[in-house]
Subunit: 368 residues, 2 copies
Amino acid sequence: MLENLETPCLVIDAERMDRNIQAMADVISQHHVKLRPHAKTHKLPSVALQQIEAGAVGITVAKVSEAEVMAAGGVTNIFIAYPLVTASKIERAIRLSEQIELIVGVDSLAGAQQLEQCASRLGHSLQVRLEIDTGFRRTGVLYEQATALAAEIALMPHLRLTGIYTFRGSLLAGKPTLDVAAAGQEEGTLMVQLAERLRAQGIAITDVSVGSTPTAASAAAVEGVTEVRPGTYVYYDRMQARLGLCGIEDCAGSVLVTVVSRPSADLAIIDGGSKTFATDVQPGTDPLQLLGFGHVMNLEDAFLVRLSEEHGMLDLGPLAQAANLQVGDKLRIIPNHICSTVNLHNQVIMQRGDAFEHLPVLARGMLE
Amino acid sequence: MLENLETPCLVIDAERMDRNIQAMADVISQHHVKLRPHAKTHKLPSVALQQIEAGAVGITVAKVSEAEVMAAGGVTNIFIAYPLVTASKIERAIRLSEQIELIVGVDSLAGAQQLEQCASRLGHSLQVRLEIDTGFRRTGVLYEQATALAAEIALMPHLRLTGIYTFRGSLLAGKPTLDVAAAGQEEGTLMVQLAERLRAQGIAITDVSVGSTPTAASAAAVEGVTEVRPGTYVYYDRMQARLGLCGIEDCAGSVLVTVVSRPSADLAIIDGGSKTFATDVQPGTDPLQLLGFGHVMNLEDAFLVRLSEEHGMLDLGPLAQAANLQVGDKLRIIPNHICSTVNLHNQVIMQRGDAFEHLPVLARGMLE
C-alpha cells in the first residue's frame, strides 16, 4: 500500500506510463518516422525495452556509461547523442559497438579526428551523426559551418557519417510565446534543408534526427525528417503540463512525502528537499511561471516554495489550511522536472494497481 | 595523474580538507565547546572518523539511513537532527541506539508521542533534543511555544529530553548584509536564554546545540552554548568563500571537466551540467551575486552561465578567449554548493599528493 512506503520516494504510475509510451509511438508512427526515445528520463533498461516493444527503433543516451548500462540490460540499438572527445571513452564506445548497433555524435573537427584515430587504431569503423546547432547555443557545429565540417568527416576512412541531429527543446523555455508546433516545424525544416545540401555534396545522409517531447509530433510531420528523440513524455512532468503538452493527470511520476512538522497554520514541512526534488527548473521561470518546486496533488493552494537539502517548505493557502494537515500525513507531489528528479533517486517504486515494485534506477548518476 | 581521470568527476584535495578539519576543531575547542560536524557535506564515514580523530564528539546527520551508513562505517556517536515521525523510522533509530550513542530530534507533540509509543513498545528509552525555530521558518517548534512543548515531552517516560538545537545558517543567505559574527551571537544567545528558562522549569537541559559553518565560531563564543554543528567547512565551497568564511584557495572540492565543444569564440561546452553541478544555489542570488554555477579555476572571466543535464555552457570573456581552449582540454570548477554537489556523485576522487583514491560516497542519496 502506498501509505506503507518509506518516504520520500519516487512513485511511477505504470498505467499512465504505459499510455504515454503508446500514445507517442502512435503519433510518430502515423508520420512513418522512427522514434528513438531519450532514456535520460527513466534511466531504466526495462522501460527502454518497453518503448522498443511499442515501436521505438532504439534509444538515445548522452554518456558511454549510460549506453553500457542499457546494453547490459538488453537494449541493442543505441545512439549516444553527445560528442565523445577522449580516447578512453571512444574506446569504450567502440568495444560496445562490437556487441550492439551504436551511433555516436560528433560536432567538431578535433572530435572527429579523435574518433577516427581511435577507430583506426582498433581496426574498427564507427557510425557517426553530426550535431547541428539550430539556435540553442549548446553543443553542435554552427549551422552555416556544417557543410564544411561534414565534408571533412566524410573523408575519414573509419567514420561512417550517416546522419545529422539537433536539439532545441529547451530553447522553448526561454520564449515569450510557446508555439511548439511552429518550433517543431522550423526545427525539422532547417535540418531537412541541411540534409539536402549535404546530399548534393555527395554525402549519403540517411538520418535526420530532431525533436524533443515538445516538438516531436510537429517535427515528425515535416517531410524528410526520419527520426525523433523525445524523452520526458514517458513520465511527463509539471513543466510539460504547463507547456500544454499533457494534462497534470498524465504525469506518471510523483514524489510521496510525509509531513514532519506543522510549526504554524500556514506552514507544513515535508521530508523532501533539494536532495529529493530537482532544482534545475526553478519556480517563477518565464514563461512557465511555476509556483513552487512541484504540484501538490489534491491541495490546490499548497505551494512548495522553499527547499533546503532535506526539508520542503509548503506554504498553505486557505483551502490547504482547511485540510488540517497533521504530522505524519502523506502527500504526493509532481516535480517540475522529472528527468533530473529521477537522477536524485536510487530507486523508483513502479506502481501497477496494488502492486509496488522497487526498481533500482540502473543508469542513475552515470556521469562518464 | 589528474589528466587521466574520466570526467566529469569530483576531486577532493585532501590536504585542504585536512587543514579545514583541523582549523575548525582548533577554533571550537578554544571555546571549550563540543564540535559535532554535519556529515551532509562529505557523506563519508572515513571523513567523519577523521573529524572525530581531530576532536569532534560525534557527527550530525538528517536521516536514519545516513545514521545507519555512518554507524556501519564505525561512527559511534550520532545526532539525527531531524524530526522522526513515522514508526518504521523510529524503530530503525531505536535498533541503532542499541549499538551506538544516538540522539534524535523532535519538534512537535505529535512527533514526540510517536517516539514515546515506539520506544515504549520496544521497551527502550530514547535520548531526544527539541528543535527550536529561531527565525528560519523550517522545522522547529516556534520559540515562544518551546517551553510548553518541552514540559510535555519531559513527562514522557521513554524519552530523555537532554538538549535543544536550532539551525539558521541559510537564514543568512537572504539577508542584505552578512554579519555572520552578529548572527552567530544572536543564535547562541536566544538558545542559551531558552535553555535557562527550561532549567527553571526543572528540565535538565545539558546540550545547547547551534551553529552552521558561517556561525559556528561566533556562536561557540556565547557562554552557555555547548555544541556547534558546522558541515560545509570540511570542503568549503564558492558560496562560503563569497560569504568571506574562507578563501577560494581553501575550497577542497572541485569538479574536473573536459571541454567537449568549442562552437564559437565566446563559448565552450563542458561535459558537466545539472547532473554534475548542484543547482540549488542559483547564480545571481542576493547578496551572493555568484556569477554562474561555479568558479572556473585559472580562467578568471569564464563563467558557467547555463546548464542542461549533461552540458555546461561556459561564457568566455576576453582573457578566457585568449587562453584558446581546445576540445579535450580539462578544467577544474569549484561548485557554488558542495554539499548538494557531492550528493550528485557516486564517488569522489580523494587526491593526496600524487595519489588518487576513488571513494564511493557511501551515504549519498540516502533519502529515508
